[in-house]
Symmetry: C2
Subunit: 120 residues, 2 copies
DNA sequence: GTAGATGGTTACTTTTTGGTAAGTAGGGCA
DNA sequence: TGCCCTACTTACCAAAAAGTAACCATCTAC
């Protein structure tokens, strides 16, 4: 198979946490283990399909673990793996920087709202 | 105009540094002011079009400054703004985490190469 | 007068990503 | 019997992001 080539480290990172949803999902999992339904309530804009798709990709990258409880109705819990935890600091900074960015833009007169801040 | 709504800070951050190219460009500008041609040599995979497009967007977000020297042939220099510098720590961590990720995957037997590490 | 250097734009196409809506499973429960 | 719950999948379609290739402007130097 062909060798995959990266030119700079950040490429690999963005391949894992990039895209519209992954960093958001990870920011939520940073604080707690969550069930599928909890995640979709926490991220109301995301569709079922995108949620599971992104979770699978994060699982494949060994960032998120999936724990299935064999019950009916089904129960599945997602959490950061130990390796995923190594992203925690970065995720926190990404949240905080974004909050500050929104503050600036608001102060600049832009019509923007931020619904919740990263409390921890 | 409709109010733009974010649910969590990281959304705003990723809107600015997300996508295939922005974080790479920023990682290069983190170390030095660069001319257009230098950037495209530093990021050989990027096309002219994408390079200028991404730089314009970063300029609009006030992350990058553009300094035109009125010469022939033209000379244009790009640099992080003071505000852009506030991303420097995050960008560095994204690079370092990615380097480590690549190391792990290599150790895991995946065929991957990283051409250069974030030296600073 | 023609080619080269630099930075940039445009029209067009392809690829990737995301969204919608419907369907599956299987036990609980009225 | 039939509907609910939860997690998940699938087929299909729309939109956004990125790639390609050709083109412009301007002065310098041959």
């Amino acid at each position: 198979m062909p060798t995959k080539t990266y030119h700079i480290g950040v490429e690999a990172t963005m391949e894992i946490i990039g895209g519209k949803w992954k960093s958001i999902i990870l920011c939520h999992l940073r604080h707690q283990t969550m069930r599928t339904g909890e995640l979709s309530r926490a991220i109301p804009q995301i569709s079922q399909k995108m949620l599971t798709q992104q979770l699978r990709e994060l699982e494949t990258a060994n960032i998120v673990s999936r724990h299935v409880f064999h019950q009916v109705p089904p129960k599945v819990e997602y959490a950061l793996t130990d390796y995923g935890e190594s992203l925690s600091g970065i995720l926190h900074e990404l949240c905080v920087w974004g909050e500050d960015n929104i503050d600036r833009r608001q102060a600049d007169g832009e019509k923007i709202t931020l619904l919740s801040r990263d409390d921890i």
